[in-house]
Symmetry: D2
């Protein structure tokens, strides 16, 4: 039986090692994915640094991946009830095991808060099998939700990657109306996808505040009508900039996608009275930040909406959108950098320093 090469993160604060692992035997209704590309995202940096709770180290990182179905045992169905076949080009939802049996799933209908939910590459670990995409092969457990990519290029799909369902969920929560002004805070992958989606949802005016310059260029290319370098000015100047682009009122909708606690409070201040703020960037705990409930929230009659994770609907709709070449163009044009399985530590460093807009692991590079 051929062996699998995988990048293993042994524990918090420790460098990734490449290991050779045996190819697994398959349970009924499971499969094996020949990984072509897997993503390196900010969460992977947090994983390396031990900033997430409940991670069962050692793990194989890589929660969003795409490739070719190399083996199937039993039956894997898509959501139209059609069986998948070996040789199909697919991706799959990284979230697994949402139980559809608990209070959160059934009564609150908030499946992203289901306590049984696991995520490939994050809360599945090596003990659960080949459950991350930074490997030549990935094990598709029974119940994994796969989607055929058809003609969609792996590169284009991966340019969107995990930011695709996350940003789509944020835009759903934002409730964009035709003609709105949408301000996106952050120019990382989620911010850039939010820029694309905000424009696609009919925003007339999409603003972006981010950093560094290379990513602001990407934001403009993704459709932002104006972009401001966060590092170029202070809070007062930022508010002034937003007002100058919104007839003095502030944005109708602000989407926070930065990770910095201060950005959440700035989002409130950048938004017009009776507007909306979607908070999608606070995936790890970076501490507290002060705000003024009277000035920043109540008197403004704001709506502030937290946005945690995503579910299959966001993922599925996102891929359907990418299958339209015209809609996919902003992602197809994003500049990415590929790293091999032996360069994963370098890939994490590149993401951390924001040298790249997006980094991908290409197991075929070796």
């Amino acid at each position: 039986m051929p062996n699998v090469l995988a990048a293993v993160m042994p524990g918090a604060g420790r460098p990734i090692q490449t290991r050779e692992l045996p190819e697994p035997s398959l349970e009924a209704d499971s499969g094996l994915l020949d990984v072509h590309l897997s993503e390196v995202c900010g969460t992977d940096v947090h994983l390396r640094d031990g900033r997430l709770a409940g991670v069962p180290y050692p793990i194989i990182p890589g929660h969003v991946s795409a490739g070719i179905l190399s083996k199937i045992r039993g039956t894997l169905l898509d959501i139209h009830g059609q069986p998948l076949r070996e040789g199909d080009r697919i991706t799959f939802l990284d979230v697994h095991g949402t139980c559809n049996a608990c209070w959160h799933c059934l009564v609150a209908k908030a499946s992203t808060r289901c306590p049984h939910r696991k995520v490939y590459g994050i809360t599945f670990g090596l003990a659960d099998g080949l459950t991350g995409g930074w490997a030549t092969q990935l094990y598709l457990k029974p119940g994994t939700r796969c989607i055929r990519l058809a003609d969609l290029a792996f590169e284009t799909y991966m340019a969107a990657g995990c930011s695709l369902p996350t940003a789509l969920h944020a835009i759903d929560r934002a409730g964009v109306r035709l003609g709105d002004t949408v301000l996106v805070l952050g120019s990382g992958p989620v911010g850039l996808s939010a820029v694309v989606f905000a424009k696609m949802a009919g925003a007339l005016n999409v603003l972006c505040i981010g950093n560094p310059a290379s990513r602001l260029d990407a934001a403009r290319q993704a459709g932002a009508d104006a972009a401001l370098d966060f590092m170029s000015c202070d809070d007062a100047a930022r508010i002034e900039w937003v007002r100058s682009h919104t007839q003095g009122r502030g944005a109708d909708i602000t989407i926070e996608a930065t990770g910095a606690p201060a950005a959440v409070v700035q989002a409130m201040r950048f938004t017009r009275d009776a507007g909306r703020v979607v908070v999608v960037g606070q995936y790890t705990d970076h501490g507290e930040i002060p705000f003024n409930p009277h000035l920043d929230l109540n008197r403004k009659h704001l709506d502030i909406r937290g946005c945690w994770g995503s579910d299959f609907s966001h993922f599925y709709r996102g891929v359907e959108i990418l299958k339209d070449p015209h809609r996919a163009r902003p992602w197809a044009e994003m500049r990415m950098q590929r790293f091999g399985l032996h360069q994963t530590n370098e890939a994490l460093a590149a993401v951390e320093s924001r040298q790249v807009v997006k980094a991908l692991i290409d197991p075929k590079m070796g």
Copy 2:
């Protein structure tokens, strides 16, 4: 022409004086209200202390009042197009002059943020005429929106007072579903009305955290299934109390009606994942408070909704509800204390110290 007796607040930090003023001559389509009762609310304490911006001192306080139409010049219509008549028992919307011509009114449909909006007893001053209810007569400017009280007792209406539209707006924003658990923070007039409305909207379980004991008794009488004295325990014990009443999850909906910035952050922590927080108590600036955007908002997938002011719809629907004796019972049973026009400083002191659940000015007492 007979004179009018009015309680005049001369400026921030100065005691109220009783003055004799001439009865005004009426413009076309205006009227004069023989005031029977006017409210003393927390806002009046803030007015005395100069905590609100844009107040044109000297003013006659008293934004919500009820009485008998003593004079009409021209025509005053109700919203059904029926003319009001002298002798009618009425109240009126304290908000005046919402312009229906600006961006906030016409495009954002957020009339509570209209810059032309004025409020009787707060942003109308003595220079605008007899524009507060702490007087024997009040001038109803053209365009004032009056509502007939029919058989509704002045006392019952005033027990609800300005908390009626405010709390109803908050409940609309809360989106209560049948069977929800609603937690109300605060047991002042808005908090108590929110307790009544939450129960009326189908909440199965209404919790209240407030102070002092007399108001918690009022909360229980108003329908709260359980009430906790805020002063009796620390933050950890409060969270424990909420969890013990919500199967460990937190409230589906929390309505903050306290005025204390810290309560806004506690509201987030008391609410279940994917729940809602309505912030209706932050009417004046009491400074900043720290919160954790990751733990308190994003990871919880919370909705937080500021709720500023109210419009005619809340006011009208609130009065219609009060006209149903069964629905009005919790307000009809509230204990209130009356003060004459010469006792307005004492009334403010009683409200400030929370000795009373509600204080009213009765100009007939002298």
Copy 3:
């Protein structure tokens, strides 16, 4: 092994027979319910008459039932993850097998349209086992969603029965605001539960048009402020009656719960401009009815919302509400008639003729 007595409906248009059947052996994670009460509803009349498609005759009718867990093999968990035990007083969701894997479940989030959905007593038949409540024992298949009744009386629960989740779903769709006028068309079980829920959701004025007089009395007892006998007048008089109770405007919300196609069009005409109509009564095909799209729909700016089936959330919340004795009172006071397993044909006749408000099968009567 003891035998089970069951009422079996052999096919469309044929009388029910009582049969003795062997007690089944249990699969892993399944159970057996000692049935105390099971419902007879209008759907059962339709089943007898062959009006529903896809029914796998012979079947054991009885989709909503309550009783005591007599046997468990393996583990049955409630939605809080707590294991159920033999001796527990329970009910269970009649809908089984919603797949959580298809487009309707995962993307449209419309699980009531899942093609894999089966219903005990309707689309499960004798070939699937003891899958209806008109029997001394019922087989709880793996994956059946059970709810503990705790202290809730079987009679009170069954008075609500299948109308409980159906009417709750309809009220959720209706979006009742505090102070609304809600008109319910129909005074069968769903109509009566809709009356109770509309009042519970804060409607100020609940109207009911139904038939016969005994059910209108039940509607008034359930909380209707006014009730009209449908047979007492013609269309014009009905519209006049609705207007006379709604200040000439029509109802804010109309809930159609009759089964007669004409009622859907009348619902549009009884509703005010910019109001809402919920259609929940059209569970079988009774043919076409003409309406005027200009006058009845577009010019009125109406919202019309179909409401099909219900999901676990409606069922669970409904039972939680019934556990509150004050909230459950209208159901606890409903008059019902019990029939034994040998009287099921008589029970169907009584339901069909509307002689009873509600009929129940009590297998203990023999």
Copy 4:
């Protein structure tokens, strides 16, 4: 004083005559518009044929117009509070006098159902002054809501014309989500604008069923992914066509913009389970049509939303969108035909026969 040339519709069924009328003297805060272009829409055909109730003949048709402010007496403000000036290029909302004082305006917040609402060119007649756009000058009554066109070409604005706010309102009601399939029934001006807006709102797949071929070409140019000639096939083939473009499910959203009652029922049948139908085409009474409430509505769990008129928000947002040349492109490319004031009868005939996609009156042509 110079005279005004106007096309006057004397009464139902009678040809339009051109009359010379005196230039009016201006009230305080009113103005005069030098009309450059005015629209001919389907409503004008209905006006000629006497199909609308409450029309105060004789009237000057032309409800949507654009031109240059030739005279102002007093002050006309835009919604930002900025005074308009003579020489400004403007348009104005045809709806006038929404009262902001009645139950519909204030409580239901359904201003399009305000009984005081008047419309230039339709319910304002000659007795009200120069109140239609088919004239060299139009009188802007006090309270008319004007919008500056800035650099927006009159032709582009008029290509959208009254379909702009109508279709935008319909899209707001439709609640398009990113990735949806939207089916538009009708390829007249409202249908074409709905196609543009549906695409702009993020629909992935926009289908159009209309007629004749020239308008289907316009629909494709406006962004429709597929278009079907209504006259080319029967109902069964149309349903088959829709299914073949929607993975067998039907459209997520169908927007009816035809005027034919049968299209409303077809809209229900073309839409997927749990989808939405917006009915915006039924502006005049063309009689009844049968539908099946079980099959077409309840079992499908459909939402059907009537959509009457539009308000200032739709109009304002629509013009803002047109000011973006990229967004305006589909309208800028529409083929229109101009008619002079002496050719209005011919213009109506051209619209009635659908020979033109859009007809405009150009008073400068004489």
